[in-house]
């Protein structure tokens, strides 16, 4: 079986560092959204 090289660049965003940063920003945005959700409906 022909194996892919062990470490390749990600298929998007150019580098793994950028992919990880995007995931971290996504998490921060999601927590912000959930916080808004909590505040909006908890009277």
């Amino acid at each position: 079986m022909v194996r892919a090289p062990f470490d390749e660049p990600p298929p998007f965003l150019g580098s793994w560092k950028r992919v990880y940063a995007a995931v971290a920003i996504y998490l921060a945005a999601l927590i912000g959204l959930f916080y808004w959700f909590t505040r909006a409906f908890s009277r």
Binding site: F6, F37, F41, S42, R43
Partner: protein
């Protein structure tokens, strides 16, 4: 369950099982059987990772947790994306390059054989305790639906899972997980849609959100820090991150999923998919529980959701009065809910605040009446720890969903259970064979021999799961129990892997001592401290690393003294 429900349930179980057997038909050597010859694409691993974590407990217990305690359990998963980033960056490349079958095999390459076996045994104890709980959840399902005895349910369920896992190995496990995840998502979506559609016509979706929020069920984020509070933003982000690091980075039941990847990139993508998708999915599940709560604001629920316990409570002399009070409190809460909805529509802020306070008070009184019924049920059953949270979602599904949909939701719950149990017994067998049997008992067997032993070990762990599931039924909210048991051991596991990856100077003896110290610290915190379980992972990890560094420094000092 009606005939269409049975048709959907049986068809889904049969199709998934046959598909798994077909995908695993070529598992005729150890590498294929335990590691799929490292050939799997990211999407198969991604959904397998997700399905393995989402057990039947997730469906049954998380929705019940949300009904009782609101959505704050969501915060438990806040650390997951951070853990996935760290594992993708630092753990995946190391495991791939080490070319290992298990995470613990790497520990011998890095430290020594005694550290490997200690950590392997910790994994076997911890995962062995959890596998019975995972199998007991579907037993709860069939007990509610059919009143079948638990032992038959666990036996049938367990036999199906063990059969395809023994025959097809990791290929069967991964590809059945892949299909099971789609069934789960479909079941979940339909359950939520039905809960909303079955609300009274005068109650809109926004009204339902207002009611759930006013009752404290939409409390997805709590900023206040408290060591004793299990679920807040900080315990979720930091404590949760440590737990997820341990679970996805050191627990073979998860590590084995991404060890099957055809490259580092494929394995990384599978983990990062989970980093992105897990929180919305968990939100969705908890929100379903909150909507079931609103549904039961307008439709009278049973005073106790567990049918057998309710029957026993109803034979008590005090029950008629308790039931009467419960019905009265239900009507009061319903009226308060309608008043709150009216105030919301009138856009009168003062009135809205007043009505919300009245509704909260009505909810509190309703809870008092429900707790009174639960107390009677506990007395009548002779089970002081009886908890009906695991039966709430099932009561909703079986009583109110239309024919066909009940079968689909049941299929989703079964799919969730099967995916978790198959991965767990597969990983338990892998560690037993690779880290114990092949390393310490029979070092020179043929590939064929180890394949047969792997199948046998899978069957034995399956049998063990079936037996232990009999005792897991009344452990309270199952999702919390599983995570609490895991937290007793994960800190030690995580600590030793942090040492392996980050502390190049630490040797095997120091790591071994560190793990023992870490475990002692966790058990001391559990039995003598008043700290929420999410922090155990962090405490254990810190103690392992700290004590190993101390021992390592001591060894180094001795060595220098010895050599002048």
């Amino acid at each position: 369950m009606r005939p269409p429900d049975w048709a959907v349930l049986v068809a889904s179980v049969v199709i998934v099982t046959l598909y798994g057997l077909w995908r695993g038909r070529h598992s005729d050597n150890v590498d294929r059987y335990l590691r799929a010859e490292r050939s799997l694409p990211w999407y198969a691993m991604a959904l397998s990772i997700m399905a393995t974590q989402a057990s039947a407990i997730t469906f049954i217990s998380t929705t019940g947790q949300s009904y009782v305690d609101g959505m704050r359990f969501l915060q438990f998963y806040f650390g997951l994306p951070l853990a996935m980033i760290l594992i993708s960056a630092y753990v995946v490349p190391v495991f791939h390059r080490a070319n290992v079958y298990t995470a613990y095999e790497y520990l011998e390459q890095r430290f020594d054989a005694k550290t490997r076996i200690l950590v392997s045994l910790i994994f076997l104890i911890q995962r062995g305790l959890a596998v019975g709980v995972a199998l007991s959840a579907p037993a709860i399902v069939l007990t509610v639906i059919l009143g079948w005895p638990d032992r038959w349910t666990t036996l049938i369920m367990g036999a199906v899972v063990v059969f395809y896992t023994v025959m097809g190995g990791i290929q069967a496990v991964t590809w059945t997980d892949f299909q099971q995840m789609f069934i789960m998502l479909a079941g979940l979506f339909l359950a939520l849609a039905t809960a909303v559609l079955l609300l009274p016509p005068q109650v809109s979706f926004l009204d339902a959100m207002t009611l759930a929020g006013a009752a404290g069920k939409l409390n997805a984020v709590t900023l206040r820090f408290d060591w004793n509070d299990q679920f807040n933003l900080w315990s979720g982000l930091f404590g949760g991150m440590f737990l997820m690091l341990a679970y996805f980075g050191c627990d073979q039941s998860q590590v084995q999923r991404y060890l099957t990847g055809k490259s580092i990139t494929q394995s990384r993508l599978s983990l990062l998919f989970n980093a992105v998708a897990k929180l919305p999915m968990q939100f969705f599940i908890l929100f379903t529980g909150a909507m079931v709560f609103v549904f039961f604001t307008f439709e009278m629920p049973p005073a106790v959701f567990q049918r057998e316990a309710l029957a026993r409570a109803s034979r008590q002399a005090a029950f008629p009065d308790v039931q009467k009070k419960f019905a009265m409190r239900f009507e009061e809460r319903k009226r308060a809910a309608m008043s709150l909805i009216e105030a919301r529509r009138n856009r009168d802020a003062d009135l809205l605040g007043k009505r919300a306070a009245e509704y909260r008070e009505a909810q509190k009184q309703f809870e008092v009446a429900r707790n009174e019924a639960l107390r009677l049920a506990r007395e009548a059953s002779g089970e002081p720890s009886l908890n009906d949270a695991n039966y709430i979602f099932l009561t909703f599904v079986t009583r109110y969903l239309p024919a066909g949909l009940v079968g689909l939701v049941m299929a989703a719950i079964f799919a969730a259970a099967m995916s978790t149990i198959s991965a767990e017994i597969n990983s338990l067998a892998t560690v037993t064979v690779i880290d114990i049997y092949r390393r310490h008992i029979c070092r020179s067997g043929s590939d064929r021999h180890y394949l047969v032993v792997s199948r046998l070990a899978t069957a034995l762990w399956g049998a063990y799961a079936i037996v232990t599931a009999q005792y897991a039924r009344n452990l309270g909210s199952l999702i919390v129990v599983v995570n609490q048991v895991g937290s007793l051991f994960y800190g030690g596991l995580l600590g030793v892997f942090v040492l392996a990856f980050a502390c190049k100077r630490v040797n095997g003896t120091a790591a071994f001592t560190g793990v023992l110290c870490g475990e002692m610290a966790i058990f001391a915190a559990h039995f003598y401290g008043k700290i929420a379980f999410l922090w155990y992972n962090m405490i254990g990890c810190v103690v392992v690393v700290g004590s190993a560094l101390l021992v390592s420094a001591h060894i180094e000092r001795k060595r220098r003294q010895l050599h002048g």
